[in-house]
Symmetry: C2
Subunit: 345 residues, 2 copies
């Protein structure tokens, strides 16, 4: 077998959900868009439902339909992109709750699915999704008369507790929803960690469930072990990989392992990355190629059968640092070729 | 519907295969590893077989088994990673031809599957996969007695015709295979374009089939149209997206479109990218987020329903340039959420 093994600890995901739930006095939803941040919604969804989550969030209606199949009836499935043209059948059949982003979406929703549940997304300054303050001021009474299930907004800078944008968005959200009796939600993982003011009636953790920053105390969720295909000794002056990107200065023992950027191991990490063997860090050398990575294992005594990229010794965020990106992208890029093993007690 | 539409032109892939086949006098295989470079092996494999390809290459045995289901019996399916521990059942049942990379692999293969077809991969200087010259010298007679179907190696610098590594690897390959009567293969897309000396008995184009460099004259294969969720007017001084990464200097019309790095639109492209509408380039602003991208559409008169990232106006390699990577990674990163439409006459 030459595909890598991605181990996903469902109990760790549930432990992270409980830990974040324990930081607030309100309801805690679970964001499992993008196939549960790359980890598999068909496994992660039911695990979180069993742990007690009753509210889920996905990005688009298509994801909601897939999640409904996994969850069965009961839990609420909210859709961040709202009600787009062509979504009505999916929203009805999947019993999805679109987060309405604009007047146009509200009209489309009440016309095509009168009486069907919906929430409202307000823009409090991020300018990405949600109704503008002026739009909301004009629409508020009409929209509230349709009995939305939730009013939400999203923070642009919650990963940085010192950013003044957080307080500005909090004030905007409080102002825009003053006197409203509908349940309110502002905080994702970062917002949960900011302060209780940000929690309102429901939080929506995503990345923290999967072990990523800014939830520093998350239980690690994923490990990735990559099989070694071949080991060779490279003499000084010899090159390794595409474009001769590595040239050996000393006698070097090189392992070629079976994963590459087609498996989501972002090419930009290149020679800034390390892999590990029994906790020992080993430098990646040369370029990350489509299906293969070469690693300097001179420091090892034996001949390893696997090297590890993600796990207890290198977190998702450590690996993100190699590639100059964020843990979120490492997770959602994890590829389809892995042998996925789900752990649960 | 709020997922993006990825249109894959199967006829263009076949046209590219024929065009590369027409540049040589030898057999032309097709490399369809990594799910046919992200485009879907279940569609691309049969299309290329119908176009005349009889030899296919995948990265790992698991991919070979999937491809065999798509192709049925007949075409040869070669596996670059060779014969790894645990592969024997897949190799036998899928009738796969492993490219043996080492003495260890050769022993494992002839012990577990005596008489089963295999090829040999030689290292001619890339130091990634394949037998070293010394290993090969010791093993050559024994290996040849087992009647391999192919002897191959891979070029490290073929995308750069001026690189001296090309001639060095060509000489090594010719030296290592002198007097051998087994069919030989050295060139992938880049090698095909270098010179006839590099063609030997079989070429193995990959990226060129899918419209990527270094095959400059490839027919474009993919286009990606992303639906607009919402359009808003942003006033000077307002920010857009995570970390307030964009701040408007002038009144700006902003479209939020429904795709992000979870769909393989690499986060590193950030504000260096453009999308297009009817050929007009429109700057991405702010950060690429997991499911959403924001675009400055101030230059447009109307309200577009979709913006295009990939297509006639922006090639795979142009988009790769936004992210500081290569077209190969753009292709293999294309995500699972797209509505995939296959074109064929």
């Amino acid at each position: 077998m030459s595909t890598a093994t991605l181990i996903i600890d469902l109990d760790a995901i549930c432990a992270n959900w409980r830990a974040l739930d324990g930081q607030t006095a309100c309801e805690t939803a679970a964001v499992i868009k993008a196939d549960a941040y790359g980890l598999g919604v068909a496994k992660v969804g039911p695990a979180l439902a069993a742990a007690g989550a009753r509210q889920f969030f996905v990005a688009v209606a298509e994801e909601g339909v897939i999640l409904r199949r996994a969850l069965g009836p009961g839990p609420t499935i909210n859709v961040f992109s709202g009600h787009m043209a062509g979504d009505a059948d999916m929203i009805r059949e999947g019993n999805l709750t679109p987060m309405i982003n604009s007047v146009d979406q509200l009209l489309a929703h009440v016309e095509s699915l009168p009486g069907h549940a919906f929430g409202l997304q307000l823009d409090t300054g991020m300018n990405r999704l949600g109704m503008e303050p002026s739009e909301w001021a004009a629409l508020r009474d009409i929209a509230l008369a349709q009995r939305p299930t939730l009013i939400m907004s999203h923070l642009a800078c919650a990963d940085d507790p010192s950013h003044p944008m957080n307080a500005a968005q909090l004030k905007n959200f409080a102002d825009m929803t003053e006197g409203v009796e509908v349940p309110r939600s502002l905080a994702a993982t970062g917002g949960i960690l900011l302060a209780p003011d940000y929690h309102f009636d429901m939080t929506r953790p995503g990345v923290g469930l999967y072990g990523g920053l800014p939830f520093l105390d998350a239980t690690p969720v994923v490990s990735l072990d990559v099989p070694v295909i071949q080991i060779r000794d490279v003499a000084p002056g010899e090159s390794v990989g595409y474009a001769n990107a590595f040239v050996a200065r000393n006698p070097t023992r090189v392992a070629t392992v079976s994963a590459g950027y087609a498996d989501g191991l972002i090419r930009a990490m290149g020679a800034k990355a390390t892999m590990t063997h029994e906790g020992r860090k080993l430098p990646v050398i040369g370029r990350v190629s489509m299906d293969l990575i070469t690693v300097d294992i001179t420091a090892l005594k034996g001949t390893p059968e696997h090297l590890q990229l993600l796990g207890l010794h290198q977190s998702v965020d450590t690996v993100a640092g190699f590639a100059g990106t964020i843990g979120y992208e490492i997770l959602t890029s994890l590829g389809a070729r892995y042998d996925r093993v789900y752990l649960t007690a």
